[in-house]
């Protein structure tokens, strides 16, 4: 049954230009719905925060919402929502994004708001203390007060990596958060939030000439500041398996997660892409290798997932990064047995190759996921802003389904062969709560 479905493509138009102050701009018009998405992305993330200031990149993201040159505290939220829009921001390992989705008549307002804070946030002691409290509650709700908090995205990097940049807790310790000062925040802004270190993307229902004029008007006078040198965060691959175990006092069942380094997602994209497909061959749905074996046949896990990038952002992460597998097990589950079976299945894949149709159907499903994400204006503005920032190729968003479709069986087999136990970092969570 290897009848192959044709993988379709989108043809979102892409206009690029750079303002005199260095801000890179991407416009991708599509008038199929009366809404726009605006994204500003800065080339700084968790890996750039200084020692003793864990969690600072994320805390700073919160401070970018606390008022700016022409805006009092609360004004940003009210102006976006009072225009019928939604907003948010998020802090990743390698970048921090700020974004709005709004009815198209609010485009200029969103541009004004982003430009205003690009000129500088209002950094005050009162707002800093307030947002330290809010961030602590965020950490409590997402990590401390629930089972499997931070598993594995905060628990696995310190097992896999040795350098502070790659290994530390990106949410931050309460001690470090409490030590943050307004001066730290100003220095962080001055160093990293330069318009030469940022991209702006606008997607959706607008006219290119009009939007270009608006962008020049609002961002044109943001003072030119060059991007700081971006360090290479690379570090050597593991030379032996590493493994750690911890007890989660709120978790009722055991879990295990492993990660293997993968090629540089940007510098070695052609070598990297097969790993994106491999993760899905292994774990996407009931017909995937590891779900069929571990969930259905052996019943040694309750669920298993596989993806690339500790935050699941496979096309928005820089080197070094990893392919992750994470599994939850039934009561009394045995991590060693699960890992042995994973090794066995990887060996089988590397030795026997794929079954007829297996690659094609996996590629078709990935294409659906990729295409589906681009239907929302922010599903275009955000990735295009990051693709511009990291690769200078926002139009790659249109090409990804086809590129995924061109990955060959030989490449998948070769990728699977690199996932050896001695290159693996594993973290195991033991249940501390009674099921």
């Amino acid at each position: 049954m290897a009848r192959r479905i044709k993988i379709p493509a989108t043809k979102y138009p892409v206009e690029r230009f750079t303002l005199d102050n260095g801000l890179r701009v991407v416009l991708t018009p599509d008038r199929s719905a009366p809404v726009v998405g605006v994204a500003v992305v800065y080339d700084v993330g968790i890996r750039s925060e200084p020692e003793g200031r864990t969690g600072f990149a994320h805390l700073f993201e919160h401070l970018m919402f606390q008022g700016s040159e022409n805006l009092e505290k609360l004004a940003h939220f009210r102006h976006v929502q009072g225009a019928g829009g939604t907003f948010n921001g998020s802090t990743h390992l390698d970048f921090t994004d700020y974004f709005e989705a709004l009815p198209s008549g609010a485009l200029e307002r969103a541009l004004f708001l982003e430009a205003d804070r690009m000129r500088g946030p209002r950094l005050t002691e009162e707002n800093l203390l307030n947002q330290i409290d809010v961030v602590k509650e965020e950490i409590r709700v997402n990590v401390m007060n629930r089972p499997y908090g931070g598993f594995p995205w905060l628990k696995l990097p310190p097992v896999m990596f040795r350098t502070f940049a790659n290994a530390h807790d990106g949410y931050g310790s309460f001690g470090d958060l409490d030590s943050a000062t307004v001066e730290d925040a100003q220095a962080f802004f001055d160093r990293y939030y330069a318009c030469g270190n940022a991209t702006l993307a606008v997607a959706g229902d607008f006219d290119v000439a009009t939007a270009t004029e608006m962008i020049r008007r609002h961002f044109g006078d943001v003072p030119a500041r060059p991007a700081p040198d971006r360090p290479d965060f690379d570090e050597p691959d593991l030379d032996a398996e590493r493994r750690e175990t911890y007890t989660d006092k709120l978790a009722p069942l055991p879990g295990v997660a492993s990660a293997w380094r993968v090629p540089d997602p940007i510098g070695s994209f052609a070598d990297y892409l097969p790993f994106v497909v491999l993760a899905e061959v292994l774990t996407d749905g009931d017909a995937s290798r590891l779900v069929e074996r571990l969930v259905q046949r052996d019943r040694s896990v309750t669920s298993i997932g596989g993806y690339i990038g500790f935050m699941g952002d496979e096309f928005q992460v820089r080197n070094p990064t990893a392919l992750l597998l994470q599994a939850h097990m039934p009561p009394g589950g045995d991590s060693d047995k699960v890992l042995r079976t994973v090794d066995e299945e990887l060996d089988r894949l590397a030795t026997d190759g794929l079954r007829p149709g297996e690659l094609e159907r996996t590629q078709a499903r990935i294409a659906t996921h990729l295409l589906r994400d681009t239907d929302a204006v922010l599903g275009r503005a955000l990735p295009m802003a990051v693709l511009e920032l990291q690769r200078g190729r926002p139009e790659m968003l249109n090409e990804l389904p086809k590129l995924i479709g061109e990955v060959t069986e030989a490449q998948i087999v070769a990728a699977a062969a690199t996932l050896r136990p001695e290159r693996r970092a594993t973290v195991e969570v033991l249940p501390g709560a009674t099921a």
């Binding site: 049954m1 009848r3 479905i5 379709p8 599509d30 199929s32 719905a33 009366p34 609360l74 009210r78 102006h79 929502q81 009072g82 225009a83 019928g84 939604t86 907003f87 989705a101 009815p103 198209s104 008549g105 307002r109 004004f112 205003d116 307030n130 947002q131 409290d133 809010v134 961030v135 509650e137 965020e138 409590r140 709700v141 401390m144 007060n145 629930r146 089972p147 006078d221 006092k249 978790a251 009722p252 069942l253 749905g285 009931d286 017909a287 259905q296 019943r299 309750t302 939850h328 039934p330 094609e360 078709a364 499903r365 294409a367 659906t368 295409l371 589906r372 239907d375 929302a376 204006v377």
Partner: protein
């Protein structure tokens, strides 16, 4: 510092609805097909009325729906769907079984064929059902350690008492007792097309998509049982229910307030009152307890609609040491909106938010599919968005104030707090009568 004026908004164009077609098939299934060709995909939602089904069986049925047919194993089903870029999953709430999925648009016919096989020729193989039963039990065990789940469970019991909505998750032991034959019987009895609605949205020709659905699902027949659930009882405020979770670093604060159904003439005014109080970030409650006090990260309120009744739900995770003060501010903001009319500016801000996010919700295939399916569940169609927009646009300050006084009064709130009872009982008891939960 240069002072720059805030740019004006360009007024919204008239609400434009997508092209759609609808047909009720001979077997009783209603098919609604909507065209949004932006990406070459199709979204699918099938809602099957499932009220009055036994909860443990219905929950396991939803988990095991894709475990096999007369001719396909679970792996076959998944692989065949993947081959057209597709995927299907099922979920359950007290009113319905909801099957959701999507595929490449060129795979619509195949996805419908596979769906038809699952609906008309289900196998529920013993081995696969046993696997899904164990997995479901494990998932429930994990849910039982999640504060959000525990708080909701306690709140539902408090709101609904003996009404069927009171319990929405089965006990692990109840699931363990379910047999495959019972799933087959429940499927034969209740997975029926009468009253069911299939929504297809995407890069499709609506008439042709309905033809494809008719071809694939024409053999799905049979009458449905009456699953009508009796109306929900009125809320009884009573004392604050404190559920102990020793050692918790946060308390889960939950409240339920009365609400009206979507089609009620007061609904738009109530939704606006809800927004002004706590229903979006720029609300009084969020600005107070998060942006001023720093007690919490993501407080939110929303109106939850079931077929047999609606309720306004209030939720915040607050630090243990500020549990009392958080309740104080919540009662204060409820009291304020129930007692004093809102300002014109905050009403206009909430109104624009409601109208704008409605357009955002319609801007994707998945958003349209969700809206069309949800409205169909209440006997409405997408064109109801026009009526609702008009009601939001015309609601007056007096109507919003009146709705707030009727529905947001703190005296009417059912309140549950899940947290470290020894630490939070005293501060809570300073504000209201507290009753400890049985557990």
């Amino acid at each position: 510092m240069t002072v720059k004026p805030l740019p004006d908004l360009i007024p919204d164009a008239k609400l434009k609805l997508p092209k759609e077609a609808e047909r009720t098939l001979a077997g009783g299934l209603t098919v609604i097909a909507i065209r949004r060709p932006a990406v070459p995909l199709v979204e699918l939602r099938l809602r099957v009325p499932f009220g009055k089904t036994p909860l443990p069986r219905a929950t396991l049925l939803s988990q095991a729906l894709f475990t096999g047919t007369g001719t396909m194993t679970s792996v076959d089903i998944a692989a065949e769907l993947q081959a057209v870029g597709g995927g299907l999953s099922a979920g359950l709430d007290p009113d319905k079984l909801l099957i959701s999925g999507n595929a490449l648009a060129s795979g619509l016919d195949r996805m419908l064929e596979i769906l038809a096989a699952v609906l008309t020729d289900p196998a529920y193989p013993n081995e696969e059902v046993a696997t899904e039963r164990d997995r479901l039990i494990d998932h429930i065990q994990v849910a039982l350690t999640q504060p959000a789940h525990l708080a909701r469970t306690a709140l539902l019991k408090r709101i609904y008492g003996k009404h069927p909505y009171a319990v929405q998750t089965p006990e692990p032991e109840q699931v363990r007792a379910v047999r495959p034959a019972q799933l087959r019987a429940l499927h034969a009895d209740r997975v029926r097309p009468e009253g069911a609605v299939l929504v297809l949205v995407g890069d499709i020709n609506p008439e042709k998509a309905i033809d494809a659905a008719e071809k694939a699902l024409g053999s799905w027949t049979g009458p449905a049982k009456d699953g009508t659930i009796p109306p929900t009882p009125p809320l009884e405020a009573g004392p604050l229910l404190l559920v102990d979770r020793p050692g918790a670093v946060q308390s889960s604060l939950r409240m339920a307030l009365p609400a009206v159904e979507r089609t009620d003439p007061d609904y738009a005014a109530l939704q606006l009152a809800n927004l002004i109080f706590g229903g979006y970030f720029s609300s009084r409650w969020v600005e107070n307890i998060r942006e001023d006090k720093g007690y919490t990260y993501g407080p939110h309120t929303s109106i939850e609609h079931f077929a047999a009744g609606s309720a306004l739900l209030v939720a915040a995770e607050v630090a243990t040491e500020v549990t009392g003060p958080s309740l104080l501010e919540t009662l204060y903001e409820l009291g304020r909106i129930a007692s004093l009319p809102p300002g014109d500016d905050e009403l206009e801000q909430a109104r624009r938010y409601a109208l704008g996010t409605l357009r955002l919700g319609m801007s994707t295939q998945a958003g349209l599919a969700g809206l069309a399916s949800m409205y169909a569940g209440f006997g409405l169609r997408l064109d109801y968005l026009r009526d609702y927009s008009a009601a939001l646009a015309s609601a007056t300050r007096e109507q919003v104030a009146e709705a707030a006084s009727r529905f947001l009064a703190p005296a009417k709130a059912v309140t549950v707090v899940l947290g470290d009872a020894d630490k939070v009982e005293g501060p809570l008891a300073a504000l209201t009568t507290v009753e400890r939960g049985a557990e």
